[in-house]
Amino acid sequence: MISYVLRRLLSLIPVLWAVVTIIWVCVFLLPGDPASLLAGGQRSDPRVIARIRSEWGLDDPAGRQYLGYLARLARGDLGTSYLQGRPVARVIGEAFPPTAFLAVSAMLLAAAGGIGLGLLSAAHARRWLDDLLTFLSLVFVSLPAFWLGLMLILLFASRLGWLPVLGYGMEGLRIPKTGILLPELRHFGLPAFTLALISMGTVARITRAALLDVLGSDFIRSSAARGSAPATVYLRHALRNALIPVVTVIGVDFAALLGGAVATEFVFAWPGLGKAIVRGIADRDLPLVEGGVLCLSLAFVLVNLAVDLCYLAVDPRVRLRNS
């Protein structure tokens, strides 16, 4: 088990190197001059632009810039944000937790809701409730987060006044020693729900399909024939065996939420990493973009690793094959 994890971790090194290189090339090819942008939008002193370019090494040959970047990364240095003048690591350290909180809570909601709805759907397979739930799942999956977010704001915040319109809240708790600010509880509601609703549809559909598959197998029939209560059949026997594809979908969705919640962060003014990266691209804050995308890629591969490890817990057969 430990050697398996170690092997997997080692195999991450070439993956991350490839990611780093792809990011660097994309960022290098971005048109637009960061120095010119930083030196003022209306007018700027050409001498200041030249000095900034040379200070940031933007006039160096591409090869030297790339090697310099790798060398800095190897030392654990993500560089300094052009725009904010602060270390990129700090910027990410502030922007990643809000994104992670949102992704985790949305995923928990989506998993609980999606598996529940999937169970309900499978239990009522091919009846009107199943049709209704399938239809709703499809609707949720197809909704763009941007639009859904605004609609939820209009309904729950503007019309009903139950929840705040947007924001992270100003008086949330701070985790001691880390400086990480937690969002205010009420402020979680709408953005988490927006993200969850979209993932919930996928999870529900996959759960339903996997369950129906398993429910057709012999051991379920025998278990029912032995007189097990329906709840035992569904929850203990069928669901556990149907979980592998569900866990996979949840893992993929979660990783996507970590990086793909930009629209939701934008609508709800959530101070997350996705928004920071998009702004970094607009401002040509190259070190911030490189560092941010790297951080998200790392989160992505680690979540995938965690999903693989979950298989071990969910399905003993996976363990057997590995040993």
């Binding site: 971005l30 048109p31 637009g32 001059d33 010119s36 942008l37 003022g40 939008g41 007018r43 700027s44 002193d45 050409p46 200041v48 632009i49 000095r51 900034i52 200070e55 725009l83 904010q84 602060r86 922007a95 909180f101 985790v104 809570s105 928990l108 909601l109 605004l150 704001i153 503007s158 006044g161 139950w162 929840l163 705040p164 319109v165 947007l166 924001g167 992270y168 100003m170 949330g172 985790i175 001691p176 600010l181 937690l182 969002p183 205010e184 509880l185 009420r186 509601g189 709408l190 988490a192 729900f193 969850a196 934008f266 609508v267 003014a269 101070p271 928004k275 920071a276 702004r279 607009a282």
Partner: protein, 557 residues
């Protein structure tokens, strides 16, 4: 109610698991629609909540070059002098009085006694010298060094050939003398720009640049807390030399999406809102007491790259463009009356604005005539011209209108909508090489209320490229008029020169396609008093003159 707040808890707590559970419970709670009671803040605290698009990028005043940074820097810092926000007269700030010799070369500033920085230290003339040298320091590479480049010895210091600036002297702790190499009629105005702030050396000498996160000035508000991308809280500075501001706190909330911000404003989470989403006519009608509109010294134009064909040397083509476009429709329909038609370069309200300048009226017949004179009858022989705009809904609509109007007289135009960084590079080029963009939209706002702030930067051939003259307009006669006008001290003598320069650039040379002038608009709750609309833009509307009055609880919710 004015503010919503959870009871502040700062004690140590165990972290991760509790936090995740909490998050989950809370999400479920909100999902189920339970509402949480909100303790209210004491009524007497005056808190103004303001929307800002994103975090101000430059909290170092020496680099302040955008409206967001200006907004913050003007609240945290003060300079020797200031603008009266509405009339734009020069008023005293850190300097309580000043004298200027009749040749306009020697300035003596008498500092107000008892001015303190927000770190408690008293401000002296040494701080003024330090701050001004810092702007000229080549290592700081300030984007605003030109405000002091007329000081004796500044050019040498800036280029690193001299260790000191001769023209900056402290006669005693409360007296500063500045000597210029040539008279600069708007020198006091330059000293009122955000970049000329007086900063404490012990804070700004930090190579680690801690001042970026914790700026310290002598202005009315100090930065109390800054949660990036979330909010920035300003607290009234009790020892402010003009007296403590009436507002206790100003909370700047960073909300990028205008549509979300609009909902937040309507639901009472903001007192102040700029950049409105949706139809402004509709907003002005539904919130008549909140909607404010006033003049803004800024001009909106379509530049033509005069260093490249087909615009190079073809004044008839440029006139044809000017006659072809219907500015009235653009201002009335697309801008919904928030822009006024521009007949020239200077916006109304700028000293030297020429109401008699005729410019070009919409006349498609004349446009066709000039197009033929330009050598392209009916547009024949003219390759499609790329029109560059940055991605913005309104600007794109204007571009489409311009495209349609030009097409109607036979000029083929293709729209290139790109992001701002791309756009800027294509438009600016370098001082030597013109940018790739042939035809582009651009806006220009005054840093200081003087015709020089428009005409010198936009028209003088010395400023070709990034410095401001992106069209690369060049006319020796205009250069000479502008140089002469900036060396004279009396406005009455300067204005005729500026008017002549503007007339040549507009009516003789048709240097650009002149489009419109902006107005400043925002929403502010009726219970916010003391709001002044400054023609220099929203960043010049000082918070320290505002206060809240009445019962906001009943008004905002």
């Amino acid at each position: 109610m004015l503010t919503q707040r959870w009871i502040a808890r700062t004690g140590p707590r165990s972290a991760a698991p509790a936090l995740l559970l909490g998050a989950m419970a809370l999400s479920l709670c909100s999902w189920a629609g339970c509402s949480v009671a909100e303790p209210t803040r004491p009524r007497w605290e005056q808190i103004l909540r303001v929307r800002m698009r994103e975090d101000p990028p430059d909290t170092d005043p020496a680099q302040s070059a955008d409206t967001l940074s200006d907004r913050l820097n003007l609240e945290v810092h003060d300079g020797l002098v200031d603008f009266e926000p509405l009339t734009l007269e020069i008023i005293s700030a850190v300097a309580e009085a000043w004298e200027v010799t009749s040749d306009g070369l020697h300035y003596t500033f008498h500092l107000r006694p008892g001015v303190r920085f927000q770190n408690g230290r008293a401000l002296t003339s040494d701080d003024v010298l330090y701050s001004f040298r810092r702007i000229l320091d080549p290592k700081v590479h300030s984007q605003r060094s030109e405000i002091l480049s007329g000081v004796q010895g500044a050019k040498e210091f800036l280029s690193g050939t001299s260790p000191r600036v001769e023209g900056l002297e402290a006669a005693d702790p409360l007296t500063v003398r500045i000597t210029l190499t040539h008279p600069i009629p708007y020198f006091l105005q330059l000293l009122a720009t955000p970049a000329a702030a007086i900063v404490p050396r012990e804070v700004y000498d930090d190579p680690g640049k801690g001042f970026l996160e914790h700026p310290v000035g002598c202005g009315p508000f100090k930065v109390a807390r800054w949660e990036r991308s979330n909010y920035l809280e300003l607290a009234a500075f009790g020892d402010y030399y003009r007296g403590r501001p009436k507002l206790d706190r100003v909370v700047i909330r960073f909300i990028e999406n205008p549509a979300s911000a609009m909902e937040e404003y309507k639901s009472g989470g903001l007192e102040w809102m700029d950049e409105m989403a949706g139809s402004e006519t509709e907003i002005a009608r539904s919130l008549p007491r909140d909607y404010r509109k006033g003049p803004y010294l800024a001009t909106y134009y379509y530049g033509m790259n005069l260093a490249r064909p087909p615009f190079r040397g073809n004044v008839n083509l440029r006139k044809a463009f000017n006659y072809a476009v219907n500015r009235e429709t653009i201002c009335a329909q697309i801008f919904e009356g928030t822009h006024t038609i521009a007949h020239g370069i200077l916006p109304p309200g700028t000293p030297g604005f020429n109401p008699g300048l005729k410019g070009f009226d919409y006349d498609p017949e004349k446009a066709r005539e000039y197009l033929a004179k330009a050598g392209y009858p009916g547009g024949k022989g003219l390759a499609p011209i790329d029109l560059w705009v940055n991605n913005n809904q309104k600007m794109l609509q204007v571009a489409q209108k311009v495209q349609a109007d030009l097409k109607a007289v036979g000029v083929p135009v293709r729209i290139q909508a790109v992001d701002f960084a791309n756009f800027l590079q294509a438009v600016r080029g370098t001082p030597q090489t013109p940018g790739e963009a042939l035809f582009y939209k651009f806006g220009w706002q005054a840093d200081y209320p003087d015709p020089d702030a428009f005409l010198y930067w936009l028209l003088h051939s010395r400023n070709a490229g990034p410095a401001g003259n992106m069209a690369r307009y060049s006319n020796p006669k205009v250069d000479e008029l502008l140089d002469r006008a900036r060396s004279l001290l009396r406005m009455e003598e300067r204005i005729p020169l500026y008017r002549e320069a503007e007339r040549i650039a507009v009516e003789e040379d048709a240097a650009w396609l002149f489009v419109s002038n902006y107005t400043e608009r925002f929403l502010v709750k009726p219970y916010v008093k003391g709001v002044v609309l400054s023609p220099l833009g929203m960043s010049r509307t000082p918070f320290d003159r505002m206060w809240l009055e009445g019962s906001p609880g009943s008004e905002s919710r």
